[in-house]
Subunit: 258 residues, 2 copies
């Protein structure tokens, strides 16, 4: 079975296989070595994610002769994924007295929830790399204009300051858990044109913003030693096939032969 | 476990999560309902694919108390995928007396191999929809100019006529097997500017060409009744969450409630 990479998060994860999406780029990067699976849920915060995490990552069923013998159709044993990205906070950081109040999660609960999500993965799959990603920055002026959200108050439902506080909280949780974190909020604002280069509606990502996330995730994976070259590949690359004897190249191939 | 869609093929499948790729679009389309997994192998023909198919889709391991109890780390039981696309022929159709001769597979063997690949899937997973995709058309003039291939002969290693013969053979196999087929070779040439709109190097796909494949695959899946709405979803969409009682919405959710 191929190694797997799970992307767990909100809309920025759910949409990550759209035009120029960071998830699709990750799948392309690992096209011969790992399956990248979307577990993104638009609008979700950490409270809902934590409540539903057992549905998203169901426990393995007990072993029975039946599911062993038929070997398909109802199975579901799952090897530990190589990596899970956890990318929540943009919705938690919605202000409690504004249009998206019902998505708001108080910052102390957000930290606790993130911690519990990390613990869930570490208990389920001790060898799996868990990478936290902070919410991106918010362009408040564009949020107010956002036609998708029927917000007539004239006030943004999210602010960059609030997103920044949740980003700092996320970084703290990662530090406490001893796991890697991508501080997207800080990283994106290092570019002067972040509002237009990286955000399409003051919150979600442009292809440029997706590229930043992709590069950051790849960077963390490289640091962790997770590269296409480090993962098994069930078949040899074309360049490793002997044009005079292709069938022998195929039959003798084993992973890590490159 | 989420339903899965496998994409089995050559480079046009391996690269299908690149810029504007048809595989990524498929994953985006099914972002909440199915995992789309790449099993694409650049340069491969049906002979090599058939020889290696057991490595690509390994049989389930025998049931043991151990792999049942630990439930991860070494498992590998796999439910039947919803669909497998089989997209080979571009390499088989390489001419036997030209630069890429060692990728060539005679057309009768190609038909037999395709048939065997379909039979493999139908035996392994009787309920799985198998969709064949023919090779795309070839723009010979651009193939000769292709800098990637060190072909100094001045003759294209593939011709559109040969690709067309393999496309017809693929359609015949699908008909004999009673399964759906996408005749990409014919479909693309219905557009007068197919050489530049759909092909980037006379063989591989532009974003426009990827869009054609995506639309065709979605069309076949629709005909088969495989749509996002027809598949289970482990969590409710945001619009189905009661803003006054989100946690009840989550706990009461079951698939097919939309």
């Amino acid at each position: 079975m191929r190694p797997k990479i799970y992307l767990f998060g909100d809309s920025i994860t759910e949409h990550s296989f759209g035009d120029g999406g960071w998830g699709a780029s990750l799948a392309h990067h690992f096209a011969r070595n790992a399956d990248v699976a979307i577990r993104g849920y638009s609008g979700y915060n950490t409270r809902w994610a934590l409540m539903a995490i057992d549905k998203v990552f169901p426990p393995p069923p007990p072993a029975t002769a039946e599911n062993g013998i038929n070997g398909g159709g109802g199975g579901g044993y799952e090897a530990a994924p190589v990596c899970v990205t956890v990318f929540f906070g943009a919705n938690d950081a919605s202000l409690p007295n504004r249009h998206a109040a019902f998505q708001h999660v108080p910052i102390d609960e957000y930290k606790q929830n993130l911690h519990s999500i990390v613990s869930f993965f570490k208990k389920r799959w001790p060898s799996t790399h868990v990478i936290l990603i902070t919410p991106p920055p918010i362009d408040e002026a564009t949020r107010i204009l956002n036609a998708y959200v029927k917000n007539k108050s004239g006030l943004p439902e999210r602010t960059n300051e609030s997103a920044g506080n949740y980003a700092k909280a996320c970084v703290t949780v990662a530090s406490n858990c001893g796991i890697p974190v991508i501080d997207l909020w800080t990283k994106m604002q290092q570019s002067p044109d972040w509002r237009t280069d990286y955000l399409c509606d003051g919150l979600h990502l442009t292809p440029g913003g997706n590229e930043v996330v992709f590069e950051e995730v790849i960077g963390k994976l490289n640091e962790l030693g997770v590269t296409p070259e480090s993962l098994p590949s069930e078949l040899p690359p074309f360049i490793n096939i002997d044009s005079n004897d292709p069938l022998t190249s195929l039959s003798k191939w084993s992973s890590f032969m490159v």
